[in-house]
């Protein structure tokens, strides 16, 4: 324990971050756009995982409903962009709101809407804990899923296609490497924010509330408020990932809201290492790589994912990062 392991984890994190940059740059150099797309998908899924890691890892809140925020982010993009591409305003009254193809605006809307949804869902579900919390978040996820299916204005079950990727000032987002750079930068920013929160007063109190809620209450901090704030921040980050994911595929569908999506985001976090800064990145990498290399062999590739997950849960409680870098302890 201690500094050697802390250093090991930092080294590992740096390697992961560099590899995630080097592979698509290499692919760009040798003109392999598919690999760049794969890396972009990885970065976006990792971002969704970073969001969940805030609630699940730091806060100990096992949310089986994070697909809600992923989906809201996706539909924020889909709705705004579809109105922009059909030149129909979103709302006519009381003010006229037009659709948009601008990524920054879409991101803000995605994060705002996900944050509001997280506030409402969290305010209700955080009154429960344990398996009840899991079930309530799952129930909210299913509500959104069926709502999206039965919403014909935006494609219903078939989903919604966006013909041209949305724009970002100064970049050509249709170029895979430029869109990757954007997603990579946002992932880096989210990781930086996560690292700061981990070490902040809020992070200390949130982590303590996960370990012992009575202790936190006894020093005058209400765990409910901490968890609600964490849940909202968590939902906002996952919502941003949803908007990017929709832009990557130029397509949104109710599948983004499905409980399988929630489950996959949980798998990223657990595979990589719960509450570890780079846990979701490593977890998403394993997921995307297995999907790519085994998905071609058999549509039942999830069985191998299951085997890896089982191995991690049984033998490496700190996830893959814990296995390599050891237990994380901060000594000051």
């Amino acid at each position: 324990m201690g500094w050697p392991e802390m250093r090991a984890e930092r080294l590992l994190n740096a390697c992961v971050l560099l590899a995630l940059l080097a592979v698509p740059l290499w692919a760009w150099a040798v003109d392999e756009p598919f690999t760049i797309t794969l890396a972009t998908r990885l970065a976006i899924l990792a971002l969704a995982g970073v969001g969940l890691n805030l609630a699940l890892g730091l806060g100990g809140l096992v949310s089986l409903g994070h697909a809600v925020f992923f989906g809201i982010g996706g539909y924020a993009m889909g709705v705004l962009a579809s109105h922009a591409q059909s030149y129909t305003p979103l709302i006519l009254w009381p003010v006229v709101i037009e659709g948009t193809k601008s990524m920054p605006v879409i991101w803000l809307v995605a994060m705002g809407a996900s944050g509001l949804a997280a506030l409402a869902i969290g305010a209700l579900s955080l009154r429960t804990s344990g398996v009840y919390f899991i079930m309530i978040t799952l129930a909210f996820g299913q509500m959104f899923y069926y709502f999206a299916i039965s919403w014909p204005a935006y494609g219903g079950e078939d989903g919604l296609s966006i013909y041209v990727r949305n724009g970002f000032p100064g970049l050509n987002t249709l170029d895979p490497i430029q869109f990757f750079a954007l997603c990579y930068a946002l992932l880096g920013l989210a990781l930086w924010v996560f690292a700061r929160i981990m070490r902040s007063a809020f992070g200390l109190a949130l982590g303590a509330a996960r370990q012992n809620a009575a202790r936190v209450e006894a020093v005058g901090i209400a765990p409910y408020r901490l968890r609600l704030v964490a849940f909202v921040l968590s939902g906002m980050i996952t919502g941003l990932a949803g908007a990017l994911f929709a832009d990557l595929n130029r397509f949104v569908s109710p599948v983004m809201f499905s409980w399988q999506t929630s489950g996959e985001i949980i798998v990223f976090v657990i595979l990589g290492g719960v509450a570890r800064l780079f846990g979701p990145v490593v977890g998403a990498a394993v997921f995307v790589l297995l999907e790519h290399f085994l998905g071609g062999l058999s549509e039942f590739w999830h069985i191998w994912l299951g085997a890896v997950l089982l191995g991690v849960v049984l033998f490496a409680r700190g996830g893959i990062i814990g296995l390599i870098a050891g237990r994380e302890v901060r000594r000051d």
Binding site: R196, I197, R199, S200, A201, F202, G203, L204, A205, G207, A208, Q211, N212, A214, R215, V216, E217, A218, V219, G220, I221, A222, P223, L226, V229, V329, R330, R331, D332
Partner: protein, 251 residues
């Protein structure tokens, strides 16, 4: 008369047919240690729950420094100046000793919603934490994980965290629990000095400690305070001997 900092007025709590607290009234004055003793099942835990705020009394009220806190939850009572320690050490086990102490300082000062600054580098919070750890003798193990501490050290850390809160009142639930003779003596010395900071309502089974420390002793039996007074009076009280102390030889 000295100032009353904690005033418990006629607290009653029933669970079905059982009256766990029966019109209990107690006061805690500045500078004193008021010990609450009683046999198992006397309702001490229920009473502590109502003072700390995790249980709501059916009747009666709790006043902290002249303010009615009966309707406040545990966190709000802590912010109002009540620092409690638990019978079974209740700490953030995966965190270090100093992190637990900083957490205490943080809560009392209401600086929780800060997201970007490194909390462990906050000089004010660190100073409070270090001072409390030094006071209980845990400074050398400040960087250790709580899970790696001995039982006795965890008992001391409970007190240290309460100290970081700079409270108006301490509520201590069996701080001697599980300590050996030497540990108890050490804890007794520590608590003896703490009453200068804030008075202590001490719920304790260790009679040596109680009679060494208490300025006043109240005896709880079947949810009622059957006697309250100076330690010598309690020692001589026939009802107390009969109800609680039995044939035990008192120190």
């Amino acid at each position: 008369m000295t100032e009353v900092l904690l005033d418990i007025r006629g607290i009653t709590k029933r669970f079905g047919a059982v009256t766990a607290s029966d019109a209990v009234s107690l006061t805690l004055r500045r500078g004193e240690i008021h010990a609450l003793i009683g046999p198992n099942g006397a309702g001490k835990t229920t009473l502590i729950g109502q003072i700390a705020g995790s249980l709501r009394p059916d009747a009666g009220s709790v006043w902290l420094d002249g303010r009615d806190v009966t309707a406040l939850d545990p966190a709000a009572r802590a912010r109002a100046g009540l620092a409690r320690t638990f019978q079974i050490s209740s700490l953030a086990m995966e965190m270090t000793v100093v992190q637990n102490a900083v957490l205490g300082a943080l809560g009392a000062r209401g600086r929780v919603m800060r997201f970007f600054r490194d909390v462990m580098r906050d000089p004010a919070l660190r100073a409070v934490a270090r001072e409390a750890l030094e006071r209980v003798g845990l400074l050398e193990v400040a960087a250790q994980r709580v899970a790696d501490l001995s039982h006795g050290q965890r008992r001391q850390l409970e007190v240290a965290v309460a100290l970081t809160q700079a409270p108006k009142v301490f509520l201590m639930d069996e701080p001697m629990a599980g300590l050996g003779a030497e540990g108890s003596a050490q804890m007794t010395r520590l608590l003896d000095g703490l009453r200068q900071h804030a008075p202590i309502l001490l719920v304790e089974h260790d009679m040596d400690a109680v009679f060494a420390l208490a300025d006043r002793v109240s005896v709880l039996v079947y949810g009622r305070v059957i006697a309250s007074g100076a330690p010598e009076e309690i020692r001589r009280d026939a009802r107390v001997r009969e109800a609680y102390l039995g044939d035990e030889v008192l120190p």
